[in-house]
Symmetry: C2
Subunit: 331 residues, 2 copies
């Protein structure tokens, strides 16, 4: 029942967008807006924390280890390497434009970036620390305390402030200026013929029913496998593990397609390495449509125009630990 | 015999520097000079390679993983974490100012940075790739090939060019502008009384016999344990494993003391976490001298003035892999 409603609503969205409209205002995708941080000191502190491996038990894994800002904010491996080289259960999504998500994680179990940021620090399979330990490391470092003082008005370090700062940094990780956004903003030469055809097909076939808005995704939960099931070895259940509902089995947050050329491999199990294969699967499973090679190639060409300007990051210089700092436990 | 000569020569150097000389030109330590890269494109390419985890088998470990430029060019753990979380045999030295070393590695087994850079990529305990694999990854990426073309005049990627570029980047990783260098350059207020006393003691007691020159080390090999043996669980033999000579047992390249506050833990086994303990050990083992707490504190205070301006690094944006790129093998 639910499924039929979904399919019908998708079809109607598909129909709506079939009539191609050159005016960007009527497009299902909107340009990404640049972000001017309200509180640059808070953002700078968050950046330090994002890059600081001392938030992990080993002293070797930082947020940037798995969300590498040199590589599209992800690790480009099927499932993440965590503390002691544990194999993670799921592919690491990009942190780029993640502020635009309706919620965080594939299953949406964290309501926002601040709530999310506490997770990996204390996750035994990721950074394997505890909030207490991470906080006591930071508290032992006067230069950090001074930054907390400057930003929060007192030099107390606690996990709430740590995650506030990390989230503030992540909110700046947006990628405006893609060729597609230039096209949306009126530069009709920004896309070539193949890319434009790809976009038209992306709309007319119904992809924009799920992948829409400025992030070209991130705005709703949908079943992965609307028409045909996805074959995977992964035991991940999607939204079901949050809601407990059987109808939420294999329902995931629709991922952003911004910078999709950079965030391989694809799908929550990271099993698919090429965009061509990902598009073919999406067509079949979500829309029951068999794209031919030319169609696939044009959609892929369009998706590659979604790569935006990557954030300019000056590597933070982290203040050293001292005799009072709890020591890392790498082995 | 050799040992006696060494001790005598150390004592005489000690004697030479006992008469404190305020003119920087006669000091055993010289300021670090800023470096202006001759070939900025080559340096930029080297920086990309330094940060690119695709030089490793897992796709997850880059040079910067163990020589973190946010943390003094090292990993701040006793011995490094390598591929599959293998525990390395030795502490990772900083890459900062490493161009000033007479040779690379604790035992000097690589003659220069270029020769060194090939090592970790193919070391099964570090990045665990092969030169062939790393080169074929880079070769598959047109944006990399274009950079090689620009710098070397043709788009062939080979390990010789890769290590040339990495070495060129490393040569820029110098840290001028420390408070001690300001003092050397004539700013007599750059050091406080305790720091200056520490420096005088550092010279008069004979530390500068081994730790001298612009890098305050890196210029010669010396036995670790001149007067008393160093107690360690490490099986590392030092220069002996290069020369085969028994007299080279426990002989190591004298490490730089530049940025020493940042490069904890100390010694080739990384067993010592505080500078106070490192200084006490050096005094006893190398000079047969028992420093009291005040003396230790002043030498430590002096050593902390050796922290220079850390290199400004803009995080490189790495070109994505594509359908032809060999895939990482993380597990
Ligand atoms: C060991 C690898 C690893 C580390 C370290 C790590 N992450 Fe993640 N991150 C992941 C994986 C895997 C997921 C997906 C988990 C899921 O959805 O169940 C994820 C999800 C996220 C998301 C949600 C994105 C989205 O679109 O839903 C954000 C935001 C994020 N991480 C930020 C961080 C921050 C901030 C840190 C450091 C405090 C961090 N991560 C550390 C691997 C890692
Ligand atoms: C019914 C909703 C829906 C429709 C229609 C849909 N998608 Fe998706 N898409 C999803 C969901 C949900 C996922 C996440 C699947 C998973 O769990 O890995 C996804 C994943 C993707 C991915 C991989 C993203 C990543 O980072 O791993 C790509 C690429 C993609 N879709 C492209 C398309 C294209 C192209 C179309 C149209 C042919 C399309 N999608 C139609 C819901 C949809
Ligand atoms: C897995 C950790 C790890 C990785 C990855 C790694 N190194 Fe090292 N590096 C070390 C260790 C440990 C040593 C000391 C080895 C020895 O002396 O025997 C070292 C030594 C060095 C030295 C010598 C410094 C000195 O003072 O003697 C340089 C230079 C260096 N590495 C540069 C690099 C470059 C360039 C890369 C990437 C191509 C790299 N390292 C990758 C751990 C690592
Ligand atoms: C005879 C030569 C010699 C003398 C004299 C000497 N050192 Fe050293 N120093 C070394 C060597 C060799 C090492 C490396 C030991 C090892 O293998 O870890 C070293 C290591 C160190 C380290 C640790 C560096 C690091 O990065 O791990 C410090 C700190 C240090 N010395 C300070 C001093 C001080 C202070 C003095 C004087 C009290 C001194 N040294 C005298 C040769 C010397
Ligand atoms: Ca991915
Ligand atoms: Ca060290």
């Amino acid at each position: 029942m639910k499924l039929r409603t979904l399919v019908i609503s998708l079809l109607s969205i598909g129909a709506l967008v079939t009539s191609f409209n050159a005016s960007a205002t009527n497009e299902p995708i909107q340009p990404i807006q640049a972000v001017t941080p309200k509180n640059p000191d808070l953002v700078e502190l968050g950046k330090m924390l994002f890059f600081d491996p001392r938030l992990s038990k080993s002293g070797w894994i930082s947020c940037n280890s798995c969300h590498n800002l040199s590589m599209g904010g992800t690790d480009n491996i099927p499932s993440s390497i965590g503390h002691a080289w544990q194999q993670g259960p799921i592919n690491a999504p990009t942190v780029l434009n993640s502020s635009m998500n309706l919620a965080q994680f594939w299953d949406g179990r964290a309501k926002d970036l601040k709530e999310q940021a506490g997770g990996p620090i204390a996750n035994p399979g990721e950074m394997a620390s505890t909030h207490e330990l991470a906080v006591s490391v930071l508290n032992s470092i006067p230069q950090y305390r001074a930054k907390f003082e400057k930003v929060f008005g007192s030099d107390k370090v606690d996990i709430d402030r740590v995650t506030t700062a990390i989230a503030a940094f992540e909110e700046t990780l947006v990628t405006p200026g893609s060729r597609f956004d230039k096209w949306l903003e009126g530069d009709k030469n920004a896309l070539n013929k193949q890319e434009l055809e790809g976009y038209k097909l992306f709309k007319s076939s119904g992809c924009t029913g799920c992948h829409n808005g400025p992030a070209v995704g991130g705005a709703l939960y949908q079943k992965f496998g609307v028409h045909h099931p996805y074959k995977t070895d992964s035991k991940i259940e999607g939204r079901k593990s949050v809601t407990g509902k059987d109808t939420d089995l294999n329902v995931f947050k629709v991922p952003t397609l911004r910078n999709i050329e950079l965030t391989y491999p694809y799908f929550h199990d990271g099993a698919v390495w090429t965009l061509e294969e990902a598009v073919t699967i999406m067509g079949k499973l979500q829309l029951d449509r068999d794209f031919n090679k030319k169609e696939v190639d044009s959609i892929v060409a369009f998706m590659k125009t979604l790569t935006g300007k990557q954030p300019d990051i000056k590597l933070p210089i982290l203040p050293p630990s001292n005799n009072d700092t709890p020591r890392p436990q790498p082995f």
